[in-house]
């Protein structure tokens, strides 16, 4: 129930934030009667209503219907553990975005592949280094050489 109420609260916050931005959209003489803010305001109101209904349901539904409580089964990770682990993967992703303009596509890709593999429990080894370099090389061949995508590059060109 706590999780459901948190969910409702977050949805309500999103609706409020979205509404406040929507209400500041400029309205020009080229706009129609509904205007650029028309549907966004409706969406915000619908989301707020749904969030409140979800909250009400979380409170009242157990009274109407006994549902099996969704307790974590033995194999399931706890919420905190899940979020911590997910945060690490996210951090690796952010690292890629920050480093790639400096170090270039090829080198950053080696780092990312190695970092992810290590994070997922592989040990530092020659094998890991080989796979990371070979992997980055094949991505580089595929995207830069074959597809001609101008990836951020250390050497400028």
């Amino acid at each position: 129930m706590v999780r459901q109420l948190t969910c409702s609260a977050i949805l309500l916050l999103i609706a409020a934030g979205y509404y406040s931005v929507a209400s500041q959209i400029t309205r020009s003489a080229l706009a129609d009667e509904i205007g650029p803010a028309g549907l966004p305001v409706v969406y915000a109101l619908v989301l707020a209503t749904v969030a409140l209904a979800l909250a009400a349901k979380a409170v009242f539904r157990p009274l109407l219907l006994r549902t099996a409580d969704a307790t974590a089964s033995a194999g399931e990770p706890t919420l905190g553990f899940l979020l911590r682990r997910a945060g690490g993967v996210f951090a690796i992703g952010v690292g890629y975005v920050l480093i790639v303009p400096l170090a270039g596509y090829f080198l950053t890709l080696i780092m990312v592949i190695a970092a992810m593999a290590l994070y997922q429990g592989e040990r530092t080894s020659a094998r890991l280094a080989t796979i990371a370099v070979a992997g980055a090389a094949s991505f580089w061949l595929l995207f830069v050489q074959l597809l001609g995508i101008p990836m951020p590059s250390l050497w400028g060109a």
Partner: protein, 317 residues
């Protein structure tokens, strides 16, 4: 080398008025990037790729088209504004880049770029269903007097939309002006009768025009179009409205004079190429070369008029 030399000799022969020194200077770069904000296959993209095919040999360089999409030109302008001004990169401009500069407040706008030369004007035309009741622009206005007219323009804040809003105002009639996602879905809505008229580029509708399913009522150019000699201009029909949808080139600020000169010569020469003429005439593009000296003031004037209009209608505050 000899080949390139021959081309430049030809350039001199073709353009007696050009300063002779230009003939000796080969373009200083082997590869030149032409940037467009249009997606591959879009109007500007097709125009540019056609141009590149004929212009490359004339300039003796390899022209590469690069699609820098996103933000209707905002990203392309940023790309150009931050590139070295040595003639290695050039941007294919249309009125879109002015509208985006004014409406979207991008980091870099049209003022950060140097207009290079103009190449074409697109013919903007007013068209209707061939089996519909309207035969002249006067019919359209008369119809809109008796009941609300249904007119269509391609995109929301565009030259075509502006033209229709001005026409509505000048004629003092009631009309719903519906904007679309592009010239294609606008044409469908004219064909199926949802809209009475549409305003768009001639090249977008030429297939249906050739098949006799659409009728042209007026052209928005200053003079009648060679391909449509019987169609009056909007001005002749009594409304002082002329649209100049330009297609030209711009570069980073501070291009060296010899680069500018090379482009001026090459564009004039490629426009005179009979093979290329067949291509662009089929696309209903009118050659409208403008030198660097004329193009800057032209763009500034276009931008200030557009800005005045956008402020008047309250789009800009």
């Amino acid at each position: 080398m000899t080949f390139r030399h021959r081309i430049y000799l030809a350039a001199v022969a073709a353009l007696a008025a050009a300063p002779p020194c230009a003939a000796q200077t080969a373009y200083p770069h082997e590869v030149v990037t032409l940037v467009t904000h249009s997606s591959p296959g879009g109007g500007s993209d097709v125009f540019l790729r056609d141009l590149a095919r004929y212009l490359g040999p004339v300039m003796g360089v390899k022209l590469v088209v690069e699609n820098v999409r996103g933000g209707s030109g905002a990203r392309a302008m940023a790309r150009l504004a931050n590139a070295p001004a040595d003639g290695r990169i050039v941007y294919a401009v249309t009125p879109t880049y002015i509208y985006t500069s004014l409406l979207s407040h991008p980091v870099n706008n049209y003022k950060d770029l140097e207009p290079l030369v103009n190449v074409f004007f697109d013919e903007e035309i007013v068209y209707t269903r061939a089996d519909g009741p309207l035969h002249t622009l006067a019919d359209v206005i008369a119809a809109a007097r008796s009941r609300r007219g249904r007119w269509g323009a391609s995109t929301p804040a565009s030259l075509e939309r502006q033209a229709l809003e001005q026409l509505k105002l000048a004629a003092g009639v009631q009309a719903a002006i519906v904007s679309h996602d592009g010239g294609g879905d606008l044409m469908l809505n004219v064909l199926n009768g949802t809209l009475e008229i549409g305003v768009g580029e001639a090249q977008e509708i030429r297939g249906q025009l050739a098949a006799g399913r659409l009728r042209v009522l007026a052209v928005f150019s200053a003079e009648r179009v060679a391909d449509l000699p019987d169609v009056p201009t909007v001005q002749e029909s009594g409304y002082d409205l002329v649209l100049t949808k330009f297609r030209g080139l711009a570069g980073p600020k501070g291009l060296p004079d010899e680069i500018i000169l090379a482009w001026e010569l090459a564009i004039q020469q490629v426009l005179a190429d009979p093979d290329y003429r067949n291509v662009y005439e089929a696309a209903m593009l009118s050659p409208a070369f403008m030198s660097h000296a004329d193009y800057g003031p032209f763009i500034d004037d276009f931008a200030s008029r557009t800005e005045a209009y956008l402020r008047r209608t309250g789009v800009l505050q």
